[in-house]
């Protein structure tokens, strides 16, 4: 069956290509998969991990170092691979992809780092009162981590870019994080925002990949997910 479907050009990227792309992205830009407040984080700050502020501790002007690492990120385009088991209520429908990952969240428990006080903050220390150090836990710290399994489904998106073309990307519609009890909805909201921000950074100008061979190309249809591929159609002008 013809692939171009009435258009001049068809381009399809298999899910394997997307997963290779995620690996290439992680290799070239590891910080997009690793966010940490020093002393957590390994390697060069700003290169190997994205420097984030500590998690504020209420009642203090200090925070606890935190890190979040995205492990084992994997995309699966419809139809689902045999090994994919999405937790209810997630169902992989037409034109959708599944995303699975493991999030590793770590605290440097016992460590508190002073945080700058916002200029309009009313909780300023009295300079004449005795100095109050942030409470420490026996002066000892420990790195405590938890791994969270994440499942999500989403759909492809196409948005205008700054050079007159269109970027093709992926967007999460629904995410599930298990075994976090009453915090589930909070963590799901936070994780969905984080993953969508990462996917925004992975958007790609569709006119460029391979289709750059043609002098002038405009996206005519798609993106569409089917047959384990992300498909687009374009016309040459």
């Amino acid at each position: 069956m013809a692939l171009t479907n009435g258009h001049h050009v068809f381009a399809g990227l298999h899910e394997d290509a997307f997963n290779k792309f995620i690996k290439a992205y992680r290799t070239a830009r590891p910080k997009y998969f690793y966010y940490a407040c020093p002393p957590l984080g390994a390697g060069s700050p700003g290169v190997d991990f994205w420097v984030i502020p500590p998690l504020p501790v209420p009642g203090t002007n200090a925070g606890m170092p935190i890190s979040v690492r995205i492990l084992d990120a994997l995309l699966d385009f419809r139809p689902a691979q045999a090994g994919l088991h999405l937790p209810a209520p997630l169902v992989l429908g037409p034109n959708q992809f599944a995303f699975t990952a493991t999030l590793e969240v770590c605290f440097l428990c016992g460590a508190l780092i002073a945080m700058p006080v916002p200029p309009d903050d009313h909780n300023r220390e009295n300079p004449n009162s005795p100095k109050r150090r942030p409470p420490q836990k026996d002066g000892r710290t420990s790195r405590d981590c938890a791994k969270l399994s994440v499942w999500a489904i989403g759909h492809p998106v196409s948005t205008p870019n700054s050079v007159g073309g269109r970027d093709v990307g992926l967007h999460i519609d629904k995410i599930i994080v298990k075994d976090v009890g009453a915090l589930e909805s909070l963590i799901e909201c936070y994780t969905e925002t984080m993953i969508n921000s990462l996917l925004d950074a992975l958007r790609y100008p569709v006119e460029k990949f391979a289709l750059g061979s043609f002098a002038s190309l405009s996206l005519a249809d798609g993106p569409l997910i089917a047959d384990n591929q992300l498909k687009v159609w374009a016309d040459i002008s």
């Binding site: 069956m1 013809a2 692939l3 171009t4 009435g6 258009h7 001049h8 050009v9 068809f10 381009a11 399809g12 990227l13 298999h14 394997d16 290509a17 290779k20 792309f21 290439a24 992205y25 070239a28 830009r29 700003g46 950074a201 992975l202 790609y204 460029k208 990949f209 391979a210 289709l211 750059g212 061979s213 043609f214 002098a215 591929q229 016309d235 040459i236």
Partner: protein
């Protein structure tokens, strides 16, 4: 395969029409045939044509009815004295040796034949059909899907040019001879003598014109049997996200197009690539 690109038959036609619109070339030459010196140039341009894809295993592109149009501009220079007999009036000269005076001859005028220059412009047009095979070539930093033209014979016929050239020469020779006094009754015969001489070399001259047109056609990469014509190229290193996007200092995200293969399926040019 990781990536699939398909180009429909209309899409291939759009790409080829862009190439055809740029296909024009010219060349020139000079040669001597007997008393005739000939300078000639040919220019050729392509237009139109319809590409038809033939599915695997043929894996071919047939380009039909391309309009090949151009012209041969030629000038012929020849000295009539090398072709026409010497003509003197009166034909004979009588000389006597007179003592104390010397040799005395009756008056005689021999016609000095001039040189003739004839310029002609000969437009031509014909339809050309050619068949191409596909191949993927390693072009260094790129993969190229190239067209390889099957050897073909251009179907152009220059024989209609023969009478046109003869008529132009006949006209110019008549005008030239007509300006010479006292030979009015001889002009027709003299012109026939020149045309008779020219007719003897007309065939090799037309052959030379054909050779030049073939040479000019071979200057068009699309029709050169020795130069694969690159239809599409794909960078081996595909930059999926460029440097400094979205943040300053961000490294580029590159992937390597490690393998590319192409065939014709369902009358589409299908290219499949493997990323690494």
């Amino acid at each position: 395969m990781d990536a699939t690109i398909a180009v429909s038959e209309p899409g291939v036609n759009v790409v080829l029409q862009k190439a055809i619109a740029l296909a024009h070339a010219a060349s020139s030459d000079t040669a001597t045939w007997g008393p005739f010196q000939v300078g000639y140039s040919a220019s050729v341009a392509l237009s139109g044509g319809v590409a038809v894809l033939e599915n695997a295993p043929a894996n071919k592109l047939d380009l039909n009815n391309v309009n090949v149009a151009g012209s041969v501009s030629a000038f012929f220079t020849f000295d009539l004295g090398l072709i026409l007999p010497t003509i003197c009036i009166p034909p004979f000269q009588v000389c006597v040796d007179i003592p104390f005076i010397g040799n005395v001859c009756t008056p005689q005028f021999c016609i000095p034949w001039p040189s003739v220059h004839v310029a002609v412009n000969l437009p031509f047009a014909f339809g050309l059909s050619a068949s191409f095979g596909f191949r993927v070539d390693d072009l260094g930093t790129k993969w190229g899907i190239v067209l390889l033209i099957d050897p073909f014979s251009a179907r152009f016929d220059l024989t209609p040019m023969g009478p046109l050239i003869i008529a132009a020469i006949q006209n110019e020779v008549s005008n030239t001879l007509g300006s010479i006094p006292l030979i009015g009754g001889l002009i027709a015969g003299l012109v026939n003598t020149v045309i008779g001489a020219f007719s003897g070399v007309l065939t090799p001259i037309l052959g030379a014109f054909s050779s030049l047109i073939n040479l000019v056609l071979s200057l068009l990469d699309l029709l050169n049997v020795n130069i694969p014509y690159t239809l599409l190229t794909f960078d081996k290193t595909q930059t999926f996200v460029p440097t400094n996007i979205p943040l300053l200092g961000d490294a580029p995200v590159n992937m390597t197009l490690a393998l590319l293969q192409a065939e014709v399926l369902d009358r589409e040019l299908l290219a499949e690539g493997q990323l690494a």
